[in-house]
């Protein structure tokens, strides 16, 4: 059974604004590393933000582990968001907090207001955070402030924060766009390794087609909010890529 089933998803930011997504459908299964490719402005970011409703879709359905996310109350939505880790292009760390506090922030959905106020996280959370920081190669930087780290290191904190949620699905929004090519490949490899180890499927926005072909097993190609390609990565070829990215050339 698919972890995530998206059907006929449509979205626009305002009633009179242009339609950003024009009926997108796809399934993400248990062991997928699923890429969303397409030129800038195709709707990749909007699509990935609809999954955890950082953006509200106008119609269609998003079924995550058997529950339709689009019809949820805000309380149920928070429960669903706890199960979906997200990694961002600009890392979106809390700059003035330590690396440890940033990783622990991944547990906010499981933490009460009073505990949040005094940053009282249980011992097992701190153990888990240390373990994850070790896995992403930051065990020497636990007490540093997030803004003291390099771009690659910051994204590693982002990965640890997302994994801290014990996610059942990971959303990756251009996780490597702010990084240089060498670091990008390292980060993608790390995410894939961790995802396979923890059995978490990933849905990844990525405009770097080479990286997508290398790391992902399935992909959809978006152009102007419409699906131009959907299928296993092996079926993707130059001609189809040219078609998807045709608008960008113009």
């Amino acid at each position: 059974m698919a972890v995530l089933e998206v059907r006929e998803l449509r979205a626009r930011y305002s009633a009179r604004g242009p339609e950003i997504l024009k009926g997108i459908s796809f399934d993400v299964e248990g062991d997928d590393f699923f890429a969303i490719i397409g030129p800038s402005g195709a709707g990749k970011s909007t699509l990935i933000r609809c999954i955890n409703r950082l953006v509200n879709p106008t119609s269609g359905s998003i079924v995550f582990n058997g529950h339709d996310v689009t019809k949820m109350s805000s309380k149920d939505l928070r429960m669903v968001r706890r199960d979906i880790g997200m990694i961002f292009q600009e890392f979106n760390l809390i700059d003035r907090m330590s690396v440890m506090d940033n990783v622990l922030a991944g547990r906010l959905g499981y933490t009460g207001n009073l505990r949040t106020l005094f940053r009282m996280f249980p011992r097992k959370d701190i153990d888990h955070a240390l373990h994850l920081l070790d896995r992403v190669g930051l065990s020497d930087h636990v007490d540093k402030r997030a803004d003291e780290l390099s771009g690659g290191q910051r994204q590693r904190v982002g990965i640890a924060r997302a994994l801290m949620q014990d996610p059942k699905l990971m959303l990756l929004d251009e996780p490597t766009s702010a990084l240089d090519p060498k670091i990008s490949r390292e980060i993608m490899a790390l995410i894939k390794e961790m995802a396979q180890e923890l059995n978490v499927p990933c849905l990844c926005n990525i405009h770097d087609v080479k990286l997508a072909m290398e790391f992902c097993n399935k992909m959809i190609g978006l152009q102007d909010g419409m699906t131009m390609f959907a299928g296993p990565t092996e079926q993707m070829n130059e001609a189809k890529l040219d078609e998807i990215y045709a608008m960008e050339v113009l």
Partner: protein
Amino acid sequence: MDNATGLHVMDMRTDEILARRTRRQRKTALVGVILLGLVIWSVDVTVVQDTDWERIGSLGEVMEAASQFAGIDFSLFPSLIGPTLETLLIACLGTAMGAVLCVPATWFGAMNITPFAPITYPIARLMMTLSRSVHEIVWALFFVAVFGLGAMAGVFAIAMRSIGFIAKLSAEAIEDIDPGPVEAMRATGANTFQVMLYAILPQVLPQVIGTVIFEWEINIRRSAVLGLVGAGGLGLVFFRQMNTFNFHGVTSVIIAILAIIFLGEAISHAIRRRMI
């Protein structure tokens, strides 16, 4: 022929530019004359007509009246320690209270986090304007009427007067934050309170603390005069010295006020430098 036409066109361009410049100069001159007229008229109304020239007397008498203040009543200083401390405490407590009271105004007044913009945003703006447009002396008169004479009225007056400034600058700081961390915290399943605590507060805290300290520095000046209307502190002593014509005593009070203002500025400067 072509050349001549070209020159003619040039000439016309020059004429046009010159005419425009002359018009602008005339306009500037006219504005100057009007402003000068207004100044003369205000001086006439407020100074020439409204001053009791008979009572001022000659220049010598004016100097004599002013020189009454030259001199310090040293015997007054021991009895100034209490009121000076009180003034400082009014400023501290008032600022602290203002900083706490401004939280709802800040929350409602930042467009990106206000709970229900069409209603809560105008409420916050009204609170900010009300706080700032009423003078601290007027606030003090109000609280003296409510609580009676004493420092408590001063603390409340300072607090009310501080809300607007702190809330306005803090709300603007919140409107300028990087929305990325907010999105990230929402994505973890954090609730609104947790998002504010983790994604918003750390981003604005240095600016808010800077604003509060700056306001505290201003509040020392304000609390020094609140006693004039009975709201405690040095102002009350100032008022008594003035009423008993002990002009050297007035100078002593002014020295005490200057001392705490310098102290406040030094502390505020030191804290802000350490924060940046």
